[in-house]
């Protein structure tokens, strides 16, 4: 009861102002995605009383291929990240083998290498491997890039499982593969979902690497929406609103994801795994 400052009205006032200042660009985007260019010019925050759905059909026509591309890349990458990281985390958490400490530090050290350092050589490597304009040119680096964080989180989780569980399985003669498949995988799925959500959010919005690796017309959503910018003399009076419709559409998958899996995201950020 000693949360000493009680429910005073000013707390809500300040919070609502902060909320408004945080969300108004998004509100602007969604409202005007349904409006005409003229209406946007007159009242930038007016309500779409007569929603122009055509904006969305035009936008969708432009970015539908990019959606397909993004779904494939993000889906396969996240599956790869989770599989590899969980396998490794199991080995680091539960198994003993020569060189374990060194190998663990090799993984952990990746967290200290900032992304920009390897960006240019990575791009050249992708080019040399003939992976330009191939989804694998993104998927493979993404899988590598997700390992350190995933292994770190999974390892902590698997270590927190009761030792008796593993000991009992070993007494019953279970091999490591069986232990992994029958014990680790079923018990880990909540933390797996958490890491999945964090990775999906990150990869869905990634811009730089796809913009280098994929050619125009084969781009991911995050890159494709940047090239919708119309020429100075736009062909349609609503072209800006069509862009906003495309922006809104590009946010829909993450919005849907959050609707169902927000708790996994919030838990991932707040469960103390991220602390120094």
């Amino acid at each position: 009861m000693s949360k000493t400052i009680s429910n005073r009205w000013w707390i809500h006032a300040v919070l609502l102002v902060l909320l408004g200042l945080t969300l108004y660009p998004m509100v602007f985007m969604v409202l005007n995605a349904f409006r005409t260019g003229l209406a946007t010019d007159i009242t930038p925050f007016g309500l779409p009383l007569h929603p122009i759905w055509q904006n969305f059909s035009i936008a969708l026509g432009e970015i539908l291929p990019a959606f397909k591309q993004s779904f494939i890349i993000v889906g396969v990458s996240v599956a790869g990240i989770l599989t590899c990281a969980l396998l490794s985390a199991f080995a680091f958490a539960e198994l003993e083998f020569p060189g374990k400490t060194v190998l663990f530090y090799l993984v952990f050290g990746l967290l200290l290498i900032p992304g920009f350092l390897a960006l240019i050589p990575l791009f050249l490597e992708i080019r040399n491997l003939g992976l330009m304009n191939s989804v694998w040119g993104l998927i493979l680096p993404y899988v590598a890039g997700g390992q350190a964080f995933g292994i770190f989180i999974f390892r902590t989780f698997i270590k927190s499982l009761p030792d008796e569980l593993f000991a009992a399985a070993r007494v019953d003669g279970a091999h490591n593969g069986v232990i992994f498949w029958r014990i680790v995988v079923p018990l880990s799925w909540p933390i797996v979902m958490t890491v999945a959500v964090l990775n999906i959010v990150g990869l869905w919005g990634d811009y730089i690497l796809p913009s280098l690796v994929l050619a125009a017309g084969h781009q991911t959503v995050a890159v494709a929406i940047t090239s919708l910018t119309p020429p100075p003399f736009a062909s349609s009076a609503n072209s800006f609103n069509e862009q906003l419709a495309a922006f809104t559409l590009s946010s829909v998958p993450i919005a849907v994801l959050f609707m169902f899996l927000m708790r996994f995201f919030v838990r991932g950020v707040t469960n103390g795994a991220l602390k120094m």
Binding site: T4, N7, P44, C84, L87, L103, L112, P114, L140, S250
Partner: protein, 311 residues
């Protein structure tokens, strides 16, 4: 001969024996199989390019013909490069102004949410702030491009408020462009920082607040004396992440201004990117990345040392 071999045999049995004794039940050679996919991936796509970057910094390379070893000359060039110096100044201001802007509003929001009595309301506010995360970063930037455009929201706002003189071409004016980028989104409450602070506040044991209340330590004084002190580990984490984030800032200037007008908004990260992608100076680009890496690592280490906290 006989003796020697018997020694060998006995020492071997001893070794096997002691190894057996030391080997725990979960000793396993198959562990390497579990690690194989990860190490194939990070070896090829993380370590190889990172090492390539560090070595490449000492070469000149156009990306096609083999790289030529040039020793330290890229670094000498970089340290004398006026554009890079300008970029370093830009990022200094960006850190100095941008990091507090990024870290303070979320703390205020987290503190206020934490003080709400109803946990339902706490949940609703947290969710409302998290909603901002569904918009991809690229989209936020593009919307801000519009907000700053000559006919954009900001100028409309100034006109409607009766200050038409305050209207500017925010991103096209070399004196305003950098400031506009730094202040973008202000006072934006970052959902990630908010959640981290909130988790930190929630982890504070209730007895501490009770004891403080008994001692008459309440309100703002309590926030400063207790809440802020006790979320220092979270603050430290966010600070380290912000320093890392700001110093490798590349996407914002790339999308918003491409470093322009002129070089008014160029950052070291963007300059590195442009050297490689626009000018094919891969060796020089990697040298800039190398220097940036050293600076970032130093800052991170200093950060962690200086803000030593006892968990």
């Amino acid at each position: 001969m006989q003796e020697q071999s018997s020694i060998t045999v006995s020492s071997m049995t001893e070794r096997i024996h002691s190894a057996r004794k030391r080997r725990p039940i979960n000793f396993s050679w198959s562990a390497y199989l579990f690690l194989l996919p990860t190490f194939l991936a990070i070896g090829t796509f993380s370590y190889f390019p990172a090492i390539r970057a560090l070595v490449g910094a000492f070469t000149t390379w156009n990306g096609f013909t083999p790289p030529v070893w040039v020793g330290l000359s890229n670094f000498v060039q970089a340290l004398q490069d006026p554009t890079l110096r300008q970029a370093a100044v830009h990022i200094f201001w960006w850190a100095l102004i941008g990091i507090p802007i990024g870290l303070v509003p979320p703390f205020i929001a987290a503190e206020l949410i934490f003080h709400l009595r109803s946990s339902t309301l706490q949940y609703l506010y947290r969710s409302a702030f998290v909603v901002s995360m569904v918009v991809p970063g690229v989209v936020s930037l593009l919307i801000w491009q519009f907000i700053y455009s000559p006919t954009g929201l900001l100028n409309v706002l100034f006109k409607d408020l009766g200050f038409p003189g305050l209207r500017h071409a925010w991103l096209a004016n070399p004196h305003l462009a950098l400031g506009s980028l730094i202040l973008m989104g202000f006072p934006w409450v970052g959902a990630f920082a908010l959640l981290i602070y909130y988790a930190g506040l929630n982890a504070i044991p209730q007895d501490i607040f009770d004891a403080a209340a008994v001692d008459g330590c309440e309100g703002i004084r309590r926030i400063w004396a207790i809440d802020f002190r006790l979320v220092l580990p979270q603050f430290k984490l966010l600070l380290v992440l912000s320093v890392l984030g700001v110093s490798q800032n590349l996407l914002t200037p790339l999308l918003m201004t491409d470093g322009g007008p002129g070089t008014a908004t160029v950052t070291p990260g963007l300059y590195m990117f442009q050297a490689a992608i626009n000018n094919d100076q891969y060796g020089y680009s990697m040298a800039i990345a190398f220097l940036l890496f050293v600076v970032v690592m130093t800052l991170t280490v200093v950060n962690m040392k200086y803000f030593q906290t006892n968990d």
